[in-house]
Subunit: 231 residues, 2 copies
């Protein structure tokens, strides 16, 4: 009688449910592969917040299809309408150069992460899932206030209080940089061709915006070739 | 030369900008009058989260029109679609009876307050406003996890971290009950005829749901007559 019980127990651990916030960029896609590889029973959610282009969302959809993961795109166009940013307004130009330049702050969508995380929590609570994962990492902090460690820690506290059941917010890449994420992806055989990082929505990535610059540096540091085509 | 300077200073204090989350119920409407009376330069935002009826939103619009306050209704129907609740699903019946009954938990829209507050913060940040007010009060705590004092305190911390500028979350009615709010409203001459509290969207308020029960008790305790018509 003992063996079936043990097997059931193992199955239960392996199939822990989780919601992953998937932008379609390299960080969250690596995280998806990482959790998939750990045996989580995953659902991915992405947000359409009126980004100037839909390339990331197309990639997110393709990755989920490839891995057989349930995927939901949440219509959050209201965020792009409520709060101006270079990522959502046609009349604000995407700045070029390094991510640490002050001009890159134009790409901050005000409070984007809190809005996305709180909707992810609504979905998780409604679906009886207690774990939410997102791919914030150390490289984001200089530009984005809502990728800082103290923001994520405060958000974790919030998630314990927002429902009668405790919700766990997990950001396992918070203390590592994009190069380290690329190294994890290499081990997991992540299909980076199905990720999009460039802020511009051209046929090929521009290679010049802060986002491209950081991605290229990460691949170089990790000794990897980026399969995405650049201008 | 001194007088104009002093006057300018007074004007500056009186015209402090703030965003108020206005449901169209009696708590947030009283709060709106309260801040209006204190001389704030106000903007009100309401949320359409696919409530079964639009009565509260109609009231919110009417109150803002009456006071001459800029009002924005944010399309948050995605919330009603993401997370089930008796307030948003036709197939979940509104429970009747006291607010403390366990069945009333069916009216919890998962994580509603965090979603609404975070979008309010996006709007405020994008509009260069640093103060946000909402009308959570002591009576809500038994049913709604996201009206608890510890939730609001954690949210205040979040608001200081979500942007490079600190955003202030204010919930001045957090420690008083609905009867006390009614007493404040009486002094401020709030037009409670332009508020809607009943969970059902009938021509007249039902007088039986938890929300009606609490409202009627509050008016009775405050020795006031509720101008809204009941069945």
């Amino acid at each position: 009688m003992k063996l079936p019980q043990v097997m059931f127990h193992i199955k239960e651990i392996k199939m822990k449910k989780a919601v992953v916030i998937l932008s379609g960029g390299m960080d969250s896609t690596t995280l998806l592969y990482d959790l998939y590889n750990q045996g989580y029973d995953l659902e991915a959610i992405s947000f359409n917040y009126d980004q100037k282009h839909q390339k990331e969302l197309i990639c997110a959809t393709a990755t989920c299809k490839k891995l057989g993961i349930k995927h939901k795109i949440i219509d959050l166009r209201i965020l792009g309408q409520l709060a101006p940013s270079a990522l959502t307004r046609e009349n604000v130009k995407i700045p070029e150069g390094s991510y640490t330049n002050d001009s890159m702050k134009l790409t901050v969508v005000p409070n984007r992460n809190m809005v996305m995380l709180s909707l992810a929590a609504s979905y998780a609570i409604g679906s009886d899932i207690t774990d939410i994962f997102y791919g914030a990492h150390a490289g984001d902090h200089a530009i984005y206030p809502d990728c800082r460690i103290e923001f994520v820690e405060a958000m974790k506290t919030m998630f314990k209080l927002c429902d009668w059941k405790k919700i766990n917010l997990n950001a396992p890449y918070l203390k590592i940089d994009k190069a380290e994420i690329a190294r994890i992806g290499k081990k997991l055989n992540v299909d980076y061709n199905l990720t999009w990082t460039c802020y511009k929505g051209g046929k090929k990535a521009c290679g010049k915006c802060g986002s491209c610059t950081e991605r290229l540096e990460a691949f170089a540091k990790a000794g990897m070739k980026d399969p995405v085509q650049y201008k």
